[in-house]
């Protein structure tokens, strides 16, 4: 157990150091990020009201290991894609 724990902690520190050293390139194209990541599982573009989309993209940032920059780019893209004031619309896959 102790060996495994130390292995996990050491791995995490290494990853953290790498992350601090290099942030993702900016700016990101939200549509591109969506097509490359989200559309792997989701068939259609979601059109939720803005605050719902903000929460949903936070959830997906964790699940799909998106960077925060990617999450924000996707959120921006989704907000722009909602062409009309959206009622609470049910989701698509």
């Amino acid at each position: 157990m102790r060996r495994g724990l130390w292995l996990a902690v050491a791995s995490s520190l290494w990853i953290a150091a790498t992350c601090f050293a290099r942030e993702s390139p900016a700016p990101l194209d939200g549509e591109q990020v969506y097509q490359n990541n989200c559309s792997r599982c989701h068939r259609a573009i979601h059109t939720f009201p803005p605050r719902m989309m903000a929460t949903a993209t936070r959830h997906m940032q964790v699940r799909a290991t998106l960077t925060r920059a990617e999450q924000k780019a996707v959120l921006q893209y989704l907000l722009e894609s909602a062409t009309k004031p959206a009622p609470v619309k049910r989701d698509a896959k």
């Binding site: 495994g4 599982c41 719902m52 929460t55 949903a56 960077t67 004031p85």
Partner: protein, 335 residues
């Protein structure tokens, strides 16, 4: 272990700077009615998987999923029994520490392979039946996880997840003492992701499990290929490979809202596997599945699939049907 979990959680709360939530709490998830038909045996019933998302700040998010189902069996004309299965899938606190690091504490899906974390929701999976080897990965961890993604170059992204779990055993939460890691390389330009997973179970009779996964989605065609493989001297070896094809340019509206799916898989359990993991095939098994998914509405999907299973016990044909509804409701002002 507990001290580390407490430390990470405390640090998360301490350094949580931006406290203006622009998000609204959500209750989302899916509800489905599933049926499996084979000679002399039928199984059908509802399944309900609500997810609660509670943003506490710009960096903190609580998320939880509860899964409940009531499968009813009908064997050779007699009905029952019907047993309500229910459990917590995850109940976790996420702290987005930096652009590339999220610290997760609590009870979370074990980051091994791609099925459990990404494909498992009824609304997302291509086939209602999970792969044969999924019983190995269908578990959660109780402890701490660090995960995220970072760009090594603009064309190469690295995804990682490292977790440490302790033993938990009660009616709603089950986790074993283990460490798990997943690392993957994603090439956005080619839309290819290659991943590897490693888990070391630290309970009685420590053992390792190795996994690999692949996702490929060419830009030239509405095609997606994905699969997983795993190897464990104690649990067994297996793989599944799945392909989907959509028809976005079809003239028929029915086709434009449809998806054809095909899966091939194999699993060979080790002798001791049944003592350690429930739900694995009891002998060498191979299965091929062919299915069709149709979106009646954006939030309603109908699925049909035919499966042919070759196993040590018997060869069977299964027809599975499903109707799944996806919902998402704000708790508060959504605009």
């Amino acid at each position: 272990m507990k001290a580390l979990a407490l430390l990470v959680t405390a640090a998360s709360l301490l350094f949580c700077a931006d406290t203006v939530p622009s998000e609204v709490p959500l209750i989302t998830g899916d509800f489905g009615f599933l049926a499996g038909l084979q000679s002399g045996h039928r199984e059908f019933g509802p399944k309900f998987e609500p997810i609660v998302l509670l943003p506490l700040s710009g960096r903190l998010l609580v998320e939880a999923e509860y899964s409940t189902e009531l499968p009813v069996e009908r064997n050779n004309g007699s009905l029952g029994p019907a047993v309500l299965n229910h459990s917590v899938e995850y109940m976790q606190l996420d702290y987005a520490a930096t652009n590339s690091i999220t610290v997760v504490a609590g009870y979370f899906a074990t980051p091994f392979g791609i099925y459990k974390e990404r494909i498992d929701p009824l609304w997302i999976r291509n086939f209602i039946d999970t792969p044969l080897l999924y019983a190995v990965n269908d578990n959660s961890s109780a402890g701490v996880m660090i995960r995220g993604g970072l760009f090594a170059t603009p064309a190469v992204k690295l995804n990682y997840a490292v977790s440490v779990s302790g033993d938990v055993e009660n009616s709603q939460f089950q986790a074993s003492k283990k460490t798990t890691e997943r690392l993957s390389v994603y090439l956005p330009g080619a839309r290819v992701e290659l991943g590897s997973s490693f888990s070391r179970n630290l309970g009685a009779g420590p053992y390792n499990t190795y996994g690999f996964d692949l996702t490929y989605r060419p830009k030239q065609a509405p095609l997606e290929i994905r699969g997983e493989g795993l190897w464990s001297g104690v649990l067994g070896n297996g793989y599944w490979m799945e392909g989907t094809y959509r028809f976005p340019s079809a003239r028929l509206g029915f086709l434009r809202r449809s998806q054809a799916v095909l899966r091939g898989e194999s699993f060979s359990p080790a002798e001791s596997a049944a003592d350690l993991v429930d739900g694995l095939p009891d002998g060498n098994s191979k299965r091929i599945s062919l299915g069709w998914n149709y979106w009646i509405k954006d939030a309603v999907r109908a699925s049909i699939a035919y499966e042919r299973l070759w196993s040590r016990a018997e060869d069977t044909n299964v027809l599975s049907l499903a109707l799944v509804y996806r919902f998402s409701l704000p708790v508060g002002r959504a605009q």
